[in-house]
Structures are given as C-alpha cells and as structure tokens.
Symmetry: C2
Subunit: 199 residues, 2 copies
DNA sequence: GTCTATATGCTGATAGAC
DNA sequence: GTCTATCAGCATATAGAC
C-alpha cells in the first residue's frame, strides 16, 4: 500500500499543488483510511520524497543531454527535444516545481542545500559553461552568458507547459490540438534558440 | 475601511496566493474583525474584484504599447520595456495571475467570458496581427506567427518575474543584485526578440 | 458600519485496539 | 500494517446586538 499512497499522492500534488491536496483526499483515492497516510510520515515528508525524486529525474534528463558530443546546434536541439519529450508524459511537473519553490521559502532553502551546494550539480553547470566557451572560441556561436542562455531556455520551456491548462481552456482547445501546439512550440523554441546563438 | 480591506487583501493575495490567504489574516493586518471582511462580500468576491482590476491594468499597458507608431524595432523595445517597468513595482503579478488561472478552472472560464470573447480585447490582438503582417511585407522582419511571438515574449517576461523569489534565494542574491538582474534580463530579452525577428 | 459570538466543516495528526 | 475514534486548530460564513 505504501507504493500506492505515493503514486496517488504524486498525481494529486501535481494536479492541485501541495496546499490544495489533503491527506483525506489521498486516502479516499487510495481506498484506505486517512490515518494510514500518516502512519508512514507527515504530509510534508511525503511531499518532500516525491518532490525530490521528480527534481532529480528532471536534472538527470538535463545531465544526459550534456553528454552529447555532436555539433552545438545538434546538442541544443537534442537537449530541448529531450526535455520536451520527458515532460510530455509529465506536463504538470514544471508548474508544480515552480509553484512549490515560489510559495515556500523553506523549500527554496532545502533546494539550495540539496542542489546548488552539491558538487555533482555544480559540475553540470561547469560542463555547460565550458562547452559554451569552447563553441564561442571556435566561432560557431555568438558570445552569450551561460546563465542567460539557461534562463532563456527554461523560460520558454517551463512557460509552454505551465500555461497549458490556461491555453487549453481560454482558447477551447481539444486534447489533440494541445498536443499539436506543444509539438509546434518545441520546434519553434529550437529554431529561436539556434537563431539567438548565431554569430 | 472598505478601501483598506481591498488594499491589504490585494497585497496578501499577491504575496501568498488565494488559497494561502485567510480572511482572518486580512482582518488582522487591517486591524478590524474577521467578520467585517465578510460584511461586504465573500472571499471569492473580494478576490475577483482585485484580480479583474489587475488583469485590466496589465492589458492596458499592452494596449498602450500597441499605439507606438515608430519603427517595429522601437515598438518591440518599448512594449517589452513598458511591461517590465510596470511590473517592477508589481513583481508578483505575473505569478499571481498564472497561479490563479492554472489552479482554478472556474477562473479560466471567467476569463474567457470576460476577455477572449470581448471585442475590445480581440481587437488588440487583431491590431498586433495587422502590424506584424505589414512589417513582414515591408521586409523589415522575418515571417512569424503573431501568436508565437506573443507567447515567446510572454514566456520570457513572465518567467523572469515568476522565478524571482527562487532566483533570489537559490543564489543568495541581495535586493540590489535582483534589481540589476531584472534590468539585465530586460535588455537581454529585447536583444533576443529583435534577433529572432531579423529577416 | 462595526462589533461579539458562534455555527459548521475541514484540516493534519495521534492514541490505541486488533 | 491497518483500523476506529478522536483531538485541537483553523477555515469561511452568519446571526444579531449596538
């Protein structure tokens, strides 16, 4: 049952956020009593495990894309493409992470300890930085700050997924139209980032 | 007192979101009883008035920027610049609107009725579309879908402000550093959008 | 208009039987 | 491990005195 609680909790946290999801609701969907959700851990503990796992998975995708040794254009294309694809089965993740980090200073602190100060993840950024400098010196791309590039790609990707429910409802789109829209934005973002990077 | 309740409520809704803000907290900060917050209206009613007012103000800024008759580059520059400046005194607004629209299907429905189906705002988009087509035909900019351009600018702008608390805490930035970062992103976004639009 | 007092419901969490 | 029963706290909202 522990696994089922985690699965259901994850889905509900994704869909509604932490504050809007009650342990009672989790229990109801799992089909157990509310007390059982608390037997293992507190709500905050349950959340943290799920949150951490998801962020790690996302960072993993980014990490793997950095291993790409082809041309920089291909690298950018693949990195954005991989990220889009991994999010297509998890479209609520970007908004979920954004929401919890924006609303909860405690979690930002937790993330700083866990990731920013962690050599493994600091290294990811160093690799990205090094690769970018190398391509600049070879004249393949224009001079650009690695942090700026990172934020730009994150902005375009995260917003695409975070605004999906808005987009769907405001413009009365069907599920198929939404899928098409995401595919279109993926291609468009790749195209734009490449253009931005042109010398 | 009615005005003070609205002012305080607005600030708290901005900072914490709708769900996390209680009428008790509003009353405490106003300095009146909790019952008084309910004398005029329900919490949802109070929220809607504030929400509507803020979205209208934001749309107004966008509307005014469209009136710019100078070169398209100047127009883009001014539009983004105006939006950034108006948000600098209201940095929580983009996240606030995003959060409430993502989390609440009722409010998306409300927004669709209020804005998408409203000729005044449909016209804003038509104006933008017309201007873009005109500049394309004159060969000043590359061919681009107006909706794509809109979403791209929104992504870059909204994410800059929405991620501000994250950015500040994760990288331990001072308030001055944050201001500098926002100014930097503003310039960078203008530069990128111009480059994307180059023929 | 602003108050006190209170209704009603939901929350997270715990104690303790089996 | 899973249950029942129950707690204390906080939420929104309302009734009614002044």
């Amino acid at each position: 049952m522990e696994l089922r609680i985690r699965e259901v909790a994850q889905q509900l946290f994704f869909e509604q956020g932490y504050a809007a999801t009650s342990t009672t609701q989790i229990a109801k969907e799992v089909g157990c009593t509310q007390a059982l959700v608390h037997y293992y851990r507190t709500k905050e503990n349950l959340f943290r495990q799920i949150f951490l796992e998801q962020v790690l998975a996302a960072l993993n995708v980014i990490g793997r894309s950095l291993a790409n040794e082809e041309s920089f254009d291909r690298f950018i294309e693949q990195a954005i493409s991989m990220y889009f694809d991994s999010l297509s089965s998890n479209p609520r993740l970007p908004y979920f992470v954004l929401e919890e980090l924006v609303n909860n200073p405690e979690r930002r602190k937790y993330m700083r300890e866990k990731f920013v100060k962690n050599p493994t993840y600091a290294m990811l950024y160093m690799q990205f930085d090094a690769r970018l400098k190398q391509e600049q010196q070879a004249g393949h791309i224009t001079k650009i700050d690695p942090f700026d590039l990172m934020i730009t790609i994150a902005s375009l990707t995260v917003f695409t997924f975070a605004s999906l429910p808005m987009f769907q409802d405001l413009l009365s789109q069907t599920d198929d139209q939404v899928r098409e829209y995401v595919a279109h934005r993926k291609a468009e973002i790749i195209r734009m980032v490449k253009k931005i990077l042109k010398p």
